[in-house]
Symmetry: D3
Subunit: 130 residues, 6 copies
């Protein structure tokens, strides 16, 4: 697999996960370091999300859990959105956070639930407008 | 829901996940602190694994991911076994670790893969004997 | 102990620790997930803070330390307030952070001290108004 | 305060906390790096444990909690011993771990309880011989 | 070495690393706890940055890496500035973050790159004004 | 750059860092998951260590620091060896750990120093035999 192919697969995975607005926001990294941007797309998305064996939904189970566990709350919002975009329900996302609470403790789970609640609200507002 | 019911549900979930040998090993905690044992069973298993919305398999996706992310390698082995016990394949578990590598870095992912490899080997040996 | 009793004990512990304003703020979690709210109250407060053996003050020593160590700075503020509410002094809280610095490193200890300083200032301002 | 005084205070605090056997074991660090040893004694013990405001027991509440939270299980054993040495009870140490479980999750709390159990057993055996 | 000498060395190291504006900002800690401020200066800077064996630049390699790894993003900005102040290039700092990405995962590396990008921009703007 | 080229660069970097014995040991991962092995070599070593801008020694500064900070002590030993292999001195490695102590706290720094001491001893013994 050529590097170009890895990059294309990464871009494709990102289009499936993120809205155009989110993807445009992510591009600010490309201006700081084009090399790092290539790695994010090719390694972070092309090498991981474009693999078989697991569905996109199963991959978001893993991604949401690892972000909550490591306290990476800055990235949690866009992946809650991504989970909704690929068809996961709010109940499922809430349940992931509840299951996490026993493994990471309440402080991180509460912070995650607050962030998810914000995304849900914006999502519901946007749906209502449609 | 009475406390007794939460405890019973927890024991039931543990029976689904762990072999008798593993469950007997876990009981050493009960000798140190009966109260803490009750909490592990009632809160850690009864309140979490016995809930609806997610399947046992989906819960193990979350559990394996959070253990890898927080470097709780002491507990990872029994949950790799649990994942196999409830019908997850070795390929799926490997894929969870691979997906994690982009989110937690290679050192933790490599350590997790080594532990999974050990469990797979014992599992294959045990199957061969049957 | 019935679930209802665990919940009541949790609410009671929260009333001892947090001002009405803080408790009202926490209720936004209840709107996102009533089940998770029940767990926070029953398990997080009822099962832990309402136990014997340790005083409320000793429990806040543990809570403040674990929040600083895991970098859960979003929750640190309300527990610094809680510590003051149950009668701990500013000197004691400062000393906990200083002791932590040798165990978690300066970056987390400095961030904790800044947060504590903010709470102290608001607290002193409120006292002055009385 | 001269450096020498900080070092002396640190040695004094270590004598209060650790058995001679434990202190001799710690000295292997001195052979690898005498400078680092000086820092451990002067900064880690002299500057922290020898301060006023908190008792030795209160300091062990903080130390045990931060070690459990950061998963520093290699050092947890000697501090469980230290806690017993300065007069804390097994019930108190168990209760610290139980309180931590809600803040750090079950995996780390279970590992901590297992380590504490080992130390308690050795301690009880030693007491019985006396 | 007397305490006073350790403090002086720490102040000297801080002057080499941080702008006057940054150092003034740090002084808010001194108002909350003069003792903790002394420790930060004497132990955090005097005992560490003023040692031989490593250059200031090598020490910033370590500092930037540990801040990224532990997710101490609040402090990362001032140390990116410090790295530029002692003559490190933007390319070097970007490369440190890229190298980290394989060890800590993409979420923390992406957040670090965003923070570095902000500092670079302010730095370039300030240079242009000169 | 084709994937094959990334893999070759990774193998080359690994040969520069690790002894044949260490590299053979690492190959057990390849038996568990050939895909993950390819990623470790191509992404973990080819994409990172084979880049320009930083020297091998500067990359080991970063690697040692991130391993100490995240408590990845299982991997620390081989990277202390790698640091010695590429010409870093024991004094330099000790100094990296000392600098880390102020940022990650004493427990992790002490554990790192103990591991480094073991590697130094084996290294000195091996040198003496030559």
């Amino acid at each position: 697999m050529e590097n170009n192919e890895r990059y294309e697969k990464g871009i494709h995975a990102m289009e499936e996960l993120f809205s155009e607005e989110v993807r445009t926001g992510m591009r600010h990294i490309q201006k700081i370091s084009p090399d790092f941007w290539d790695m994010i797309v090719s390694s972070g998305f092309g090498d991981l999300y474009a693999r078989n064996t697991l569905t996109m939904e199963q991959r978001e189970y893993i991604t949401l859990t690892t972000l909550i566990t490591q306290g990476a709350f800055d990235q949690l919002g866009v992946h809650v959105q991504a989970a909704l975009n690929i068809g996961m329900s709010q109940e499922e996302i809430i349940e992931i956070i509840i299951h996490c609470s026993g493994y990471v403790g309440f402080p991180k789970a509460i912070q995650a639930m607050g962030i998810a609640g914000e995304i849900f609200k914006n999502h519901d507002d946007a749906s209502r407008k449609d």
